[in-house]
Symmetry: C2
Subunit: 383 residues, 2 copies
């Protein structure tokens, strides 16, 4: 059973949307249905999966009946899922596996988050911290500090520098300039990043992704050619987990579950990282993108930054990573993020990515993770 994406939509991501969370959700649902070339009705959808992190970001729960009501009266079923920042990837995994197993024919996957529902970044951060290990929560360690410890360990072991981290931010902000959906279209230089204030040493403001608002949706189908002549197939997926706390891991310079999820997606798809032309990876912090290169097999351990210095992962390079601008420039409205990655790859593989189009992109990969890699979803797509 070859399951494919037949429609996709994303709201623009914004730092502070003037709209309510349910309005963002509604725009994404309607947009995804309307994007299906041969037409799809609410009655064709038999499963709705909503991805959302916290009702403290948006004020709404029990969003499945609301999403269903936007489809008109149907006999569809639905569930909202949450796996921290990997909620979207988890939703896609569930849609893909259930469609593949015959539990659903056509699945609407919609993710949303309105993080500006919290008045300040400090308060938003408090919500995010709930995704840590209970002992990390009690210790008061925000994710930027947990990733800072990972970055410190990585720098110590491999001699990586703060400039190496900065190169990720520079690339992704450069890419985001080409993406009208990106929340922060602003060019930054290595110097800008290095001069930005430390949030948790060695991570600075510009090493961190954006607290933002947005929604994205894709339609996953077990009968893709019924709805479009140009589906994007989900050739394989992996979903893997690690300990909730980084203090429980033997080596914090790796994100094991990322490797496990990628191995699973590669095994199922029969494809490898060498076969993909474009990657969207979870750069919640710059260090995470560097480690992703290594976990996904793009670089040897400790050699991630070479890919940036040699231009390989740049737009126009051999393996562009985050041509969308990534979480860094595009934004990271938690529940939407993984779904938005799938939407981006859908557009790229169909040649619909406008000025950020990667030439010759026929296969793509997304990596979406939650917490400090306690949950990772990886998908491999082909047109």
């Amino acid at each position: 059973m070859r399951v494919g994406i037949v429609g996709a939509y994303s709201t623009g991501y914004e730092l502070r949307s003037e709209r309510e969370a349910w309005e963002l959700l509604e725009e994404a649902v309607r947009g995804a249905l309307n994007s299906v070339e041969k037409g799809i009705s609410g009655e064709d959808i038999d499963l709705v999966i909503v991805s959302n992190f916290s009702d403290r970001f948006g004020g709404i729960l029990h969003t499945v009946p609301y999403a269903l009501s936007l489809l008109g009266r149907t006999s569809a079923k639905g569930v909202r899922v949450e796996n921290a920042c990997a909620s979207g990837g988890t939703a896609l995994y569930l849609a893909w596996s259930m469609a593949r197993a015959g539990l659903a024919r056509n699945v609407l996957v919609v993710g949303f988050e309105k993080m500006s529902h919290q008045p300040t970044a400090a308060e938003a951060n408090e919500v995010l911290m709930a995704a840590g290990h209970p002992e990390e929560i009690l210790a008061g360690a925000p994710f930027v500090s947990l990733y800072a410890m990972i970055a410190k360990a990585y720098m110590d072991r491999y001699g990586a520098t703060e400039e190496d981290l900065a190169l990720v931010a520079v690339k992704n902000h450069e890419n985001g300039l080409r993406n009208p959906l990106a929340a922060m279209r602003r060019k930054v230089t290595v110097e800008d990043v290095l001069k930005s204030p430390y949030v948790s040493w060695p991570l600075k403001l510009y090493d961190s992704s954006l607290i933002s608002d947005g929604a994205a949706a894709v339609v996953v189908s077990a009968e893709p050619r019924r709805f479009t002549d140009a589906p994007v197939y989900i050739e394989g997926m992996g979903l893997a987990h690690d300990t909730p706390g980084i203090f429980e891991r033997p080596d914090i310079t790796e994100l094991r579950a990322m490797r496990f999820a990628a191995e699973e997606a590669f095994r199922i798809s029969g494809l490898g990282v060498k076969d993909v032309h474009i990657l969207e990876v979870h750069d919640a912090f710059t260090i995470a993108e560097l480690i992703a290169y290594e976990m996904l097999g793009l670089a040897k351990r400790g050699e991630a930054a070479k890919l940036l210095r040699e231009g390989i992962v740049m737009f126009g390079g051999e393996k562009p990573v985050n041509p969308s601008g990534g979480l860094k420039s595009k934004g990271h409205p938690i529940g939407a993020t993984g779904v938005g990655m799938a939407a981006e790859i859908f557009w790229q593989l169909r040649g619909e990515a406008g000025s950020r189009q990667v030439e010759g992109a026929e296969r793509g990969l997304m990596e979406n993770h939650g917490g400090t890699g306690g949950t990772v979803a990886v998908a491999v797509f082909s047109r």
Copy 2:
């Protein structure tokens, strides 16, 4: 594929637990695994489904890696689900359907909620309201008011009385006296209920279920005889939805999705309401239990209260409903509720329900709903 429950556990439900949410979760996970007669290890579990309503009730998100860590290092996958008060039933539905389709062999379903995380009932109520239709939230209508409108319409149409509603509370509190897990073991009389203060006319304090804390877990298996000689089979389930808002429905005296979910469960199981010996239904408010009798086919429209007056649904009657004490006496820790219902029926069908044991209980039914019936899960079990 006949999928069965092979182990179950519930913490005691409490009005205000002294323990943290993750401690309740841990007790339930360990308890369910330890309850499996022939033994089960963390490595046998390939899917974990966590049911939880809001991180405002417990302060934790991304609970899947935490639950997995309690199983020891495994290659299991997991997802947290939320469908308001039907989160537990939805989790069970997903476990059953995925095990049945071969997507998992053994699934740990665990639900928890620590509602006393909010300091007052008013603040807890504000969290609960997020499960309403956006317009109901904006209007400031709590669920007790929405159910009060349903009760008013039902009373107007069928001549039902406040005493009819009170009989539900009296029965369930009487039943709860026999349940050591119940949060409020207190006998109440019809007079007590009628004299309790109105919360939203015609619903009074004693027409309402309890804000409470607790966790419950069940192990669902596609190979039940491997783990116990006395599994409780899930013979069929239904999951159905209705409009998120009651103002969108043609007739608010019925909860349509309850009928649809029951019809689906009956069709799949080949069993009917006549075949079950015990029912656990979602008496979040007394009116909901009366309407459940009618939607499930126990009573004709408008005749629900007869079942109470004639003793049919009483402990010792022909069709005992909520021998556990129901949400009314046992408590309603949102994410745990549906999972706890399945645990109760597991014990009843195995003859392990102690002084609340229903003699001759061989088949049972659970009905768990969210919001004002925007999501309903129904399951039919047999031993």
